[in-house]
Each structure stands twice: as structure tokens, then as C-alpha cells.
């Protein structure tokens, strides 16, 4: 197996006496498409935020391609190529869709090339008809796409998606899955999700978080049929 693109060692974070993340060892192979699932409050979003410098870990290490980025600031991590879509979309509401993407693309490309990149990404996420609309005026799900598009426009090597299908209709969810598979051709992807069908359609391997620890790490079918996972997470309907 090739060297991991991302690795955490004994990563920990405590909020007000509660161990949100408790000594997590996590490893991701280049090119993988991994899903992170787990009960609400298991620490998934916190984990993502620590990987991207939005939260500072209390202990442990984060390694990106072997480089220690534990103490790096958010912008340094962004520069190294980790892109994240947060759970609540972090977009520029007062700017148009195209301007949002331009800000992302301009970081890596000169003006003309950035414009081409924006056009290409707009087409990929099918946001062309909305290019001139203010992002703040869009529906929740569309804003999620804008955010994913911004992440993609930065050409990241590792993409973290926190609930990409939240608030999307059945067909939109299918389109999002398609988009994620496409992103995965160029980048390693980790997605936090609750939609089982969606998970089955994109991922082969699933990591289950529970109370800040990794409960199970298995391929999709095994993980979702695991008795412990059903008890803490899926509930009866999975039976």
C-alpha cells in the first residue's frame, strides 16, 4: 500500500471537559474516496476542522503527505491543497456565483486562466444559469454546490466534504454523488454523510466515529451491517 496522503496520530480535542476527539489514528490512501459516518456529536465535524486549521488540536499530530501540519494556520493548510466544504456553507453571500469562484481560482491562476477555470467549474456543477446571481439569494442546496465548486476551483489534492447532500432532493443528491466521483478522479475525498443510499453510491470504505473515537473501519456493506453501528447510529430501520 502506498504511503498515506493524510494521517492523524493520537489526535485529540476537548471542549469544556468533553472529549470531542479522543486519540484518533486515521489514515487515508491517495486517491481514496472515504465516507465518515457516526452519530450526531461523534466528532466528525470537529475532526474536519482540526484537519483544516479551524480548530487547534490539544494533542496528537496531523500529517499531510508526511509533513506535520498540526500547528499550521487555516490559510497555510489551504495553500497545501486541502479544500473543505463546511457543514454550514461558508460562501461569500454578497458576491455573485462567478465572483465566488473567481476568488477561489485566482489564488492559483492568473486572471485569464482563472476565468477559464471558473467557466469550466460552473459547467461541471451546472451552475451556469446562476453565474450572475448573488449567492445569498440562492437556496440552501445551491449554496452547497457553490461551496463545492469553490473547493474544486482551487484544484485541491484532498477534499473534505461535510454533509454534501444535506438539503438536496433525490435527484440533486444523485447529481452530487456523480460530482463527487468526478472530483475523486483528481483528488482524494473524505465525505461526512448521513444518507445511507448516498454513501453506498460513492464510497467503498467507511469509517464510523462514535464519541470521539473510531468505532469501526470497514468496507461499506460490512460497516453498515455491523451490530454496533446499528445500535449507536442507524437504528431499527436498517434492520
Amino acid at each position: 500500500m502506498s504511503a498515506p496522503i493524510l494521517e492523524t496520530r493520537q489526535l485529540s480535542k476537548t471542549f469544556g471537559g468533553v472529549k470531542a476527539i479522543d486519540r484518533i489514528d486515521f489514515s487515508l490512501a491517495p486517491g481514496e474516496l472515504r465516507c465518515l459516518i457516526g452519530p450526531n456529536g461523534a466528532g466528525k465535524s470537529t475532526f474536519f476542522k482540526m484537519l483544516t486549521g479551524q480548530h487547534r488540536p490539544d494533542g496528537g499530530q496531523v500529517l499531510l503527505n508526511g509533513q506535520d501540519i498540526t500547528a499550521a494556520a487555516a490559510h497555510e493548510i489551504g495553500r497545501l491543497g486541502i479544500g473543505i466544504k463546511n457543514q454550514i456553507p461558508d460562501v461569500f453571500d454578497g458576491l455573485s456565483v462567478a465572483e465566488n469562484l473567481t476568488l477561489a481560482a485566482r489564488f492559483i491562476l492568473p486572471k485569464a486562466a482563472a476565468a477559464r477555470k471558473v467557466a469550466e467549474v460552473l459547467a461541471r456543477v451546472q451552475l451556469e444559469p446562476m453565474a450572475g446571481r448573488l449567492v445569498g439569494e440562492l437556496a440552501h442546496g445551491q449554496r452547497q454546490w457553490v461551496e463545492i465548486a469553490m473547493v474544486v476551483a482551487r484544484e485541491p489534492i484532498l477534499v473534505l466534504l461535510d454533509e454534501p447532500s444535506a438539503g438536496m432532493s433525490v435527484e440533486e443528491t444523485a447529481r452530487t454523488a456523480e460530482l463527487i466521483r468526478e472530483i475523486n478522479r483528481e483528488a482524494t475525498v473524505v465525505a461526512v454523510e448521513h444518507n445511507m443510499q448516498f454513501i453506498r453510491s460513492i464510497a467503498s470504505r467507511v469509517t464510523v466515529f462514535h464519541r470521539g473515537r473510531i468505532l469501526v473501519e470497514e468496507n461499506v456493506d460490512k460497516a453498515l451491517s455491523d451490530r454496533r453501528v446499528r445500535d449507536v447510529y442507524l437504528g431499527r430501520s436498517a434492520a
Binding site: F15, G16, V18, I37, G38, P39, N40, G41, A42, S45, Q87, I88, E137, L138, A139, H140, G141, Q142, E163, A166, G167, M168, S169, V170, E171, E172, T173, A174, H194, M196, V232, Y233, L234, G235, R236, S237, A238
Partner: protein, 237 residues
């Protein structure tokens, strides 16, 4: 009897019209699901029914009263409860304080209020161990539960829910569905829910409205959602 109704309601943001003649009728004690793609006006419909967006044309009636021109807090006092998308938890207040805030408008004495909030907490046992934590420290799913519980603390007669299952783990989705069913049985609570989760709608709703371009395009029975052909036609348009 019609409890909540909208006739030819138009609304939107500035020059952009999102609702384009929305008409719907909800009977007391009913559970109505609203389905539709992003950008078709679900959230706008909720916000217009609650009075956060001004009505252009048309009217909204609630409990036999014309509420078209009432402010959100006035509608709330009449018994319209609203759980917005994004939850809008008061992040610096504890879970308990968030719930108390939800009960404020009822104008109870402190003791009555505490007793009442404690009752609501009994109803959501998952919140119990979290009461002292700041709302902002909860995970997304926990915040959603809190938002629902907080809304119930105001003792609403009708609940407007905007994507109540978004970002919630499957077993809590089940729990929310159960709680809502119990509430409906016990107190004839009326619910209008914009939702994407078909399973949730199927379990709870008696009627499903398909929203498209700011109007109700179709009315379905929940059972229709299991029919793959119909579902494909109306839901996965």
C-alpha cells in the same frame, strides 16, 4: 376545517419573485409534507407563511384570521411555530436557556415555565445530558433536536418545519418522527414540513405537496412516493 391557508401568495427577495401564486390549505391536526428541488421556493414559502418575508399579492389565513400583514412574533403568539433551516440556536446560551427562551412568549411564571420546559425535555431525553452545554457547542444534529424542542416550548398549535432531518443521523430521524407522531396523537398538533427525506415524509405525512417554481404543482398521497414511476416523475423531476 381549514386551519392554515394561503391564497395566491407571492413573495421573494427584492426584485426576485420566488413564490408565484402559492395556494395551499392545511386542516387542523394534519401533517403536510412539501417536496421540491432546491430553489423551487420551499424555504421562501416557510418564511412567507411565518411573515419573515412580506407578501406581495395574496393572503395567509390562520385559525380563521387574516394574518397576511402580521409580524412574525405576532404570528408566533397566535400559535405558529417555526423551526428554520440552519436551526438558529442561540450559541452562547446553554441548552436549558435556549429552551427557556422558547417558552418566554407564553408569558408563564418562572415556576410554571421551568416545569413546562422540564416536561419538554422529558420528551427529548437525548437533550437531558446536554442541558448545561452552550448551544453553539452542540453538533449539528443535536442543534436540530434543540431547535425543535425549543419551538415546542412555545406551545405552538401549528409547526412549520424547514428540513427537520437535514444532517441528522438515521436513528434520531426515527426518533423525531416518533415524537411528532406522539404529539399529533396527543394534542392534534398540525405540522407543515418541507423535507427532502422521502422516508420521513412517507412515515408522517397524510398529504404531500410538490412545489415547483413557487407554486404547488401537484398533490400526492404518501403511498405514491413508494411508486417508483410516480416518485421519479414528481420528486426526482
Amino acid at each position: 376545517m381549514t386551519f392554515l391557508s394561503a391564497q395566491g401568495l407571492t413573495s421573494g427577495y427584492g426584485r426576485i419573485r420566488v413564490l408565484d401564486g402559492l395556494s395551499l390549505e392545511v386542516e387542523e391536526g394534519a401533517f403536510v409534507g412539501i417536496l421540491g428541488h432546491n430553489g423551487m421556493g420551499k424555504t421562501t414559502a416557510m418564511r412567507a407563511l411565518m411573515g419573515f418575508l412580506p407578501a406581495g399579492k395574496g393572503s395567509v389565513h390562520f385559525g380563521g384570521r387574516d394574518i397576511t400583514r402580521l409580524k412574525p412574533f405576532q404570528r408566533n403568539r397566535l400559535g405558529l411555530g417555526y423551526v428554520p433551516q440552519g436551526r438558529q440556536i442561540l450559541p452562547a446560551l446553554s441548552v436549558w436557556e435556549n429552551l427557556r427562551a422558547g417558552a418566554l412568549a407564553a408569558g408563564l411564571s418562572v415556576q410554571e415555565e421551568e416545569r413546562w420546559v422540564a416536561e419538554v425535555v422529558e420528551f427529548f431525553p437525548r437533550l437531558k445530558p446536554l442541558l448545561k452545554r452552550p448551544g453553539g457547542a452542540l453538533s449539528g444534529g443535536e442543534q436540530q433536536l434543540l431547535a425543535l424542542a425549543r419551538c415546542l416550548c412555545g406551545g405552538p398549535r401549528l409547526l412549520l418545519l424547514d428540513e427537520p432531518t437535514e444532517g441528522i443521523q438515521p436513528s434520531i430521524v426515527e426518533e423525531i418522527a416518533e415524537r411528532l407522531l406522539q404529539l399529533k396523537a396527543a394534542s392534534s398538533l398540525t405540522v407543515v414540513a418541507a423535507e427532502q427525506n422521502l422516508g420521513f415524509i412517507r412515515t408522517l405525512a397524510e398529504r404531500v405537496l410538490i412545489l415547483r417554481r413557487g407554486r404547488i404543482l401537484h398533490r400526492l398521497e404518501p403511498a405514491d412516493l413508494t411508486d417508483p414511476a410516480l416518485a421519479a416523475e414528481f420528486v426526482a423531476m
